[in-house]
Symmetry: C2
Subunit: 406 residues, 2 copies
């Protein structure tokens, strides 16, 4: 008898018909003799509706109270699913975040899970019940309702699976697994049977939207196997698992990711003195803007060019700040570019194979794609290129690294 | 500095505009230096919408899970009000039933409050905050969400006022107070400045819909003054308070109530033997049907007629049961009548004044209104009459007992 945690996203519980299908899927797994814990999101669109309602009242709604409001979304879906399961003759019980003892810090709207006690979940499983836990929500030490931020239900599910030492955490979504790259952009994209935590982390942070980064971090830390699969199909999806040595024979690169969500800012001819970079990035950080890539090139004459990327949504603010700052640090010019893209190749195989970077740069050069910035980690290489070459670059890299389906 | 508990019903928080008006009213009271605890219902229509949603899934939705679903209604309004108050610059904090430590028994859908600890409420009041408590909901000893049944928010408010030893519990509603009788039916109805708990209890149980019976019982038990008033007007409403001896000079009758919600069933020529009545009423009780009035007249020859009233909604079931039962107890006939009404006069003055019943019967007789059944208590007299005479009877009694406005 296995213990399986299943998580269904908003599109999987968008209405009563969908919830019925979810119930039928759960019953099949439960009927096969497994213990089942189900984690649900709010109905598709509901969280946005509630946020909008709060914004009709205030531009900047009180964050504690907004979390109380948002928590109703998952409360609704877990109770409806439990009513559905009970009406079909299966014992079910809903638990809200605080009832499942999902304890978080006090950062309303983006709380982090500190601890899951889950005694109540275990007790109910012991009684043979299907337990439906509201995703996305927890409580702080004082009993205030908190929410985990966008996509937080993935994290709820993985954290519960870790606390319960579940055999697997199944993430049901509207795609049928993790692909070598975006199938909308590259027809030869293949569904992966398996991907490692570290690869999935890079994929998620580089633009793939299948899984929340924090959920993967949690899974890695507690070694929870994740099964990403479609809630509309029966077939197997992609397993996200721990890296094993005997797998070293696989392809060097597991996937190609891209992101068009960044913009580039260059401060040219900055005096190359200690404290300048610190001043620039402290100002940016204090404005709550996250910087992704940073590159510094030394010029002649004690001058340097400083280039970095920020999210496109932060670009106008960041540009305005830099223009002000340029004077005070003695930079000659501030240049901005919104029409960039980041393409990346990812694979744990890079740890033991050399030459991946060279192959990537050669492949791009062959197509006359200029590389503006490069950033590497142990298992990924990212290049910033002109936005218009995104699709071409992804297709070329997908082919060069042997990922095309046959 | 007073401590005031205010309760606003569904029509008072039906949309953001209404909630803004509620916020403004609260701010006025808070600004005058009072501590304010606000108890809210769900938006008008929301509880019915959720019940209907659950019934689309199951004819008989699991009661524990239905309570989880219904509790979202008040969770929404308290968070929206708190966001509103905070955005207007006033410190506010919402508390759900379990957070306010409203502990109930485990009777889902109709739970009774066992205890209110309210330490959290006191703590927040001590910090100068306006506390918005979700009405209608609590938790049982195990932490399951429970709801108190229709109109339960009144009970939440009064119980909180009792636990906090509040100076007054203000119930804001869509009428501006308690009237001597239904103003829709009798133009000369007057708003009462004051009414006693016992009178209000009788009024509520005899058909007046202003306050929940359980809320009044709670108020009486803990001597919580209730102020029933309109959320749309500034003027004072009706105080519901403890009886005082110095008030003995008031009118003997405080109000005239009526109900068209009952039906009458008569078993004629029942053998007058021990155990027969027991058999009849045990059967009815086991079916969950509540019997209101019961009358037994002895006939000649060891036979008796047994008449009782039930809610109109239970009438078809009750008639079917009696028809079956009539044979087994040897009754000759079962007669039913749906076209009846109950008119009642209420007043604590009856305790010290005689002749009220005689005046009532005489007044009805003068208009040729036949009395079918009579039931009395220490402070009320009820008569069952033909339904078509309801309005006439109410107006006549209102006049005879000196209640008409001048």
């Amino acid at each position: 008898m296995a213990l399986i945690v299943q998580k269904y996203g908003g599109t999987s519980v968008a209405n009563l018909d969908q919830i019925r299908k979810v119930a039928e899927r759960i019953i099949k797994v439960h009927g096969a003799g497994n213990n089942v814990v189900v984690v649900l999101s709010a109905m598709a669109g509901e969280t946005n509706r509630l946020i909008q309602l709060a914004h009709e009242i205030a531009d900047d709604p009180n964050t504690r109270e907004l979390d109380v409001l948002l928590a109703t979304g998952e409360q609704t879906t877990v109770s409806l699913l439990s009513i559905m399961l009970e009406s079909m003759g299966y014992p079910a019980r809903s638990l809200l975040g605080y009832q499942a003892e999902i304890v978080t810090n006090r950062a309303f709207g983006r709380a982090r899970i500190a601890e899951i006690r889950a005694d109540r979940v275990r007790e109910l499983l012991g009684q043979g019940k299907i337990v439906a836990v509201a995703g996305f929500q927890g409580r702080d030490q004082k009993g205030n309702i908190t929410t985990l931020g966008r996509g937080g239900s993935d994290t709820s599910a993985v954290a519960l699976a870790a606390a319960l030492k579940a055999d697997v955490c199944e993430i049901y979504t509207d795609v049928d697994g993790v692909y070598t790259t975006d199938p909308n952009l590259c027809k030869k994209a293949r569904k992966l049977d398996k991907i490692y935590y570290d690869e999935m982390l890079e994929m998620a942070s580089l633009g793939a939207k299948v899984l929340q980064i924090r959920a993967v971090e949690f899974a890695k830390k507690f070694n929870v196997p994740i099964h990403v699969r479609s809630s509309f199909k029966e077939e197997e999806g992609t397993m996200v698992v721990e890296e094993k040595e005997e797998d070293m024979e696989r392809l060097v690169v597991s996937g190609v990711a891209y992101s068009k969500d960044e913009a580039r800012i260059t401060l040219s001819k900055v005096p190359d003195r200690p404290g300048i970079a610190s001043k620039i990035f402290t100002t940016i950080a204090e404005a709550g803007i996250v910087v992704d890539m940073i590159i510094q090139n030394t010029r002649k004459g004690g001058l340097t060019d400083l280039t970095f990327t920020v999210a496109k949504s932060d670009y106008p603010r960041a540009m305005a700040m830099q223009t002000d700052l340029a004077k005070s640090v003695g930079a000659e010019q501030v240049l901005g570019d919104e029409h960039i893209a980041k393409v990346s190749v990812i694979g744990v195989g890079m740890r033991s194979h050399s030459g991946v970077a060279a192959r990537m740069f050669t492949a791009l050069a062959k197509e006359n794609i200029n590389i503006m910035m490069i950033s590497t980690s142990e298992i990924k290489i990212s290049c910033v290129i002109e936005e218009k070459y995104t699709e071409l670059a992804v297709r070329i890299l997908h082919k060069v690294f042997g990922l095309d389906s046959t």
